[in-house]
C-alpha cells in the first residue's frame, strides 16, 4: 500500500474515537503491535537522540524495499513509532524520501502529543529518512 493510503487508513481508524482518552488507549493498543526490534539490534547505535523516552529504530534493505523495526521504553512513544513503522515498512527509498507525514495532525492528537523535541517525533521521521537516503546512496 502507498504511504498516503496507510496514513489515510490510520486517520480513518482514529476518527472512530471522539475523545483523547480513547485515542490514547488505542495508541497503547497499537504499541503492542509494533514490529519489535531484534534484541541484538537494541543497542545504543540504533537509539534516536533527542527524545525524552528512548527510541530504538532499525532498518534493513531487501528487494528494493526498506523494512523497519523498533521499540521504546515509553508506551505512547512506542505507539507512535509503531504507527510510523507501519507506514514506512515495505516502501522504496524514494517513496520514503518524498513522503510527507500528515496523519499526526489529522488524527487530532497533535494538541495532546508534544510535537517538539521532547517526544522526538521529528527525530524519528528524520532518522527514517536518513536510513532511506543511506540505502539509496549505497545502491547507486
Amino acid at each position: 500500500m502507498k504511504i498516503n493510503n496507510i496514513q489515510d487508513e490510520i486517520i480513518n481508524d482514529f476518527s472512530l474515537f471522539d475523545n483523547w482518552m480513547d485515542k490514547y488507549n488505542y495508541l497503547i493498543e497499537l504499541s503492542k503491535d509494533i514490529i519489535l526490534i531484534p534484541k541484538s539490534k537494541k543497542i545504543d547505535e540504533n537509539l534516536i537522540k533527542g527524545c525524552q523516552s528512548k527510541v530504538w529504530l532499525f532498518a534493513e534493505y531487501k528487494n528494493n524495499k526498506l523494512y523497519f523495526s523498533g521499540d521504546s521504553d515509553a508506551i505512547i512513544t512506542k505507539g507512535i513509532i509503531s504507527l510510523l513503522i507501519s507506514i514506512f515498512n515495505n516502501q522504496s527509498c524514494d517513496d520514503i524520501l518524498n513522503s510527507e507525514i500528515y496523519f499526526i495532525k489529522k488524527i487530532g492528537l497533535n494538541e495532546h502529543l508534544s510535537m517538539n523535541r521532547s517526544n522526538g517525533l521529528i527525530s524519528m521521521i528524520k532518522q527514517i529518512k536518513i536510513y532511506a537516503l543511506a540505502f539509496k546512496n549505497r545502491i547507486q
Binding site: Q52, L113, N119
Partner: protein
C-alpha cells in the same frame, strides 16, 4: 475570599482552560506565571514612556534611565546587597554563571587549580566550569550526595585543598527541592581562601535572601522564575572582586573611552553591561519584586510548605510511587517522583491531558539522574498561586493513569 484566592486572581492565565480542564500549573521551577501588575507595567511602559537608556539627554530617556536604575536599587534591597554597584543585569542565571566562569577565571584561575561543584547542579552550573577547567588546565571536583540528596560537610572538607580556588553551588535543587548547606560551605570556602558562587535560581522567589549575611561572593537568579519577565537575570557580586575581573561582553556603554589605540572601561556595574539592555524587562522586574514584597516571605513560605506537606502525605500513600530524595519533607516547593512501570513521559502526557502542566525528563540535571540511576523523572513545582484542590485533582489523575496502564 482567602489570601490564596486573592493572589490567584491576579494571574490572568488561570482564566484559561488547558485541554478542556482548568489549568493546573505545576511547572513553576521552569518558569512562573506573571501577575497582572507586571504585564501592565510592560504595556504601559512601551505605550507611553519607551526610550533607550543612559545615553540620552531627552526627558524620555531620563525617565527610562531613572526607572531602570530604580530596579537596580530594588534588587539591591531585595537581596540586601551592599551597593547598587554589585548588581549586574544579565539575561538569566545561565548568563550570570557564564559571566563569572569567564571573567573571574580569566584573572584568578591558573593551571593546576581546582574548582568544586556538587552532584546536584543544573547544567548551567556544570558546563561553563567544565569548559573553563579544560581551557585553563584546572580540575573540576564533584561533591557527592547521599540517597536523600544531602551533602555531607566532611566530604566537602575532604575535597577542599590548597588548590581550591572556587566553589559553585546550587542553593535549592531544581530536581529534589532540598536546600544545600550553603552557610557552612561558604565559610569553608573562605577559610580556604576560595571564592564561592551560589546559584539561587530556585531559591529567590521562595525565601528571603540576604547576601551580606550569607557572605557569598556571587549570587545569581532569573527574573522569569520570580513572577517577572523573560530575558532578565541578575548577578550579584562583591564589589572588590567584580572590580578585579575582566570585562565580559564589550561594546557601547561599558566603555569609558574608545580609540583605535586604546580602550578604557567604565565603572561598576556598567563595566559588565554592554549594548542596549532588556530595558522593558528590567523596568518590569521591579514590579515583580514589589509584588513578592507585598505578599511577604512569611506567607509565601508558610503556604508553599503546607502545599508540599499535603502533596507528600498523599504521594507516600501510593506504593508504586518513589519520591526522589526520599519521603522527608525538607523540600522547598519542588517534588520529583517516578511511578513503577510507568514511564515519566507517558505519565506527563496523560497529566497534560487532564490540564496539569508539569515537567518530565532529566530536568537539565543529567549527572543527578545518573546518580539516581534513572533516565528521568516527573517534577511538581509550586508557586504562591497553587492550592490544595489542585493537588487533590492531581492525585485523582494519577490514580486514573495507574488504572489505564494496568
Amino acid at each position: 475570599m482567602n489570601q490564596n484566592n486573592i493572589i490567584r486572581k491576579q494571574f490572568p492565565i488561570f482564566e484559561k482552560k488547558l485541554n478542556n480542564n482548568n489549568l493546573i500549573y505545576f511547572d513553576n521551577a521552569a518558569s512562573s506565571q506573571k501577575p497582572e501588575c507586571v504585564i501592565n507595567k510592560i504595556s504601559d511602559y512601551y505605550k507611553y514612556e519607551y526610550s533607550n537608556v543612559h545615553r540620552g539627554i531627552h526627558s524620555l530617556s531620563q525617565i527610562s534611565t531613572d526607572k531602570f536604575e530604580q530596579t537596580r536599587s530594588a534588587v539591591k534591597e531585595f537581596i540586601n546587597a551592599n551597593s547598587t554597584q554589585e548588581i549586574i543585569f544579565t539575561k538569566g542565571t545561565t548568563e550570570s554563571i557564564n559571566l563569572v566562569a569567564s571573567s573571574w577565571s580569566d584573572i584568578f584561575l591558573n593551571e593546576g587549580d581546582e574548582i568544586i561543584i556538587s552532584t546536584l547542579e543544573h547544567h548551567a552550573n556544570i558546563v561553563p566550569w567544565q569548559i573553563v577547567c579544560k581551557k585553563k588546565k584546572a580540575t573540576l571536583k564533584i561533591i557527592p550526595i547521599d540517597e536523600n540528596g544531602y551533602i555531607n560537610l566532611q566530604d566537602v572538607k575532604n575535597l577542599i585543598s590548597k588548590k581550591t580556588k572556587f566553589i559553585s553551588l546550587i542553593h535549592i535543587s531544581n530536581v529534589i527541592g532540598i536546600e544545600t548547606p550553603i552557610i557552612e560551605i561558604i565559610k569553608l570556602a573562605h577559610k580556604a581562601n576560595a571564592q564561592i558562587l551560589i546559584d539561587g535560581a530556585q531559591a529567590v522567589s521562595h525565601k528571603k535572601i540576604d547576601v551580606q549575611k550569607l557572605n557569598c561572593d556571587f549570587y545569581c537568579f532569573s527574573a522569569h522564575k520570580m513572577y517577572g519577565p523573560t530575558g532578565v537575570g541578575i548577578l550579584f557580586g562583591k564589589k572588590k572582586i567584580l572590580e578585579k575581573m575582566s570585562p565580559y561582553q564589550t561594546g557601547g556603554e561599558m566603555i569609558k573611552e574608545v580609540s583605535f589605540k586604546e580602550t578604557t572601561f567604565n565603572d561598576l556595574p556598567f563595566k559588565f553591561e554592554t549594548g542596549t539592555p532588556n530595558i522593558t524587562g528590567i523596568i518590569a522586574l521591579k514590579e515583580s519584586i514589589d509584588f513578592i514584597n507585598s505578599i511577604g516571605f512569611e506567607y509565601i513560605q508558610q503556604h508553599e510548605k503546607e502545599l508540599l506537606e499535603f502533596l507528600i502525605n498523599k504521594l507516600t500513600k501510593f506504593p508504586y510511587i518513589k519520591i526522589l530524595g526520599g519521603n522527608n519533607k525538607n523540600k522547598n516547593s519542588i517534588v520529583s517522583f517516578n511511578m513503577k512501570k510507568i514511564h515519566h513521559y507517558d505519565a506527563g502526557s496523560f497529566l497534560n491531558n487532564f490540564g496539569i502542566a508539569l515537567r518530565t525528563g532529566h530536568l537539565c540535571a543529567q549527572p543527578l539522574m545518573n546518580r539516581y540511576n534513572i533516565p528521568g523523572t516527573i517534577r511538581i513545582s509550586f508557586a504562591i498561586y497553587n492550592n490544595f484542590e489542585e493537588i487533590e485533582f492531581f492525585i485523582q489523575s494519577l490514580k486514573k493513569i495507574k488504572k489505564l496502564f494496568q
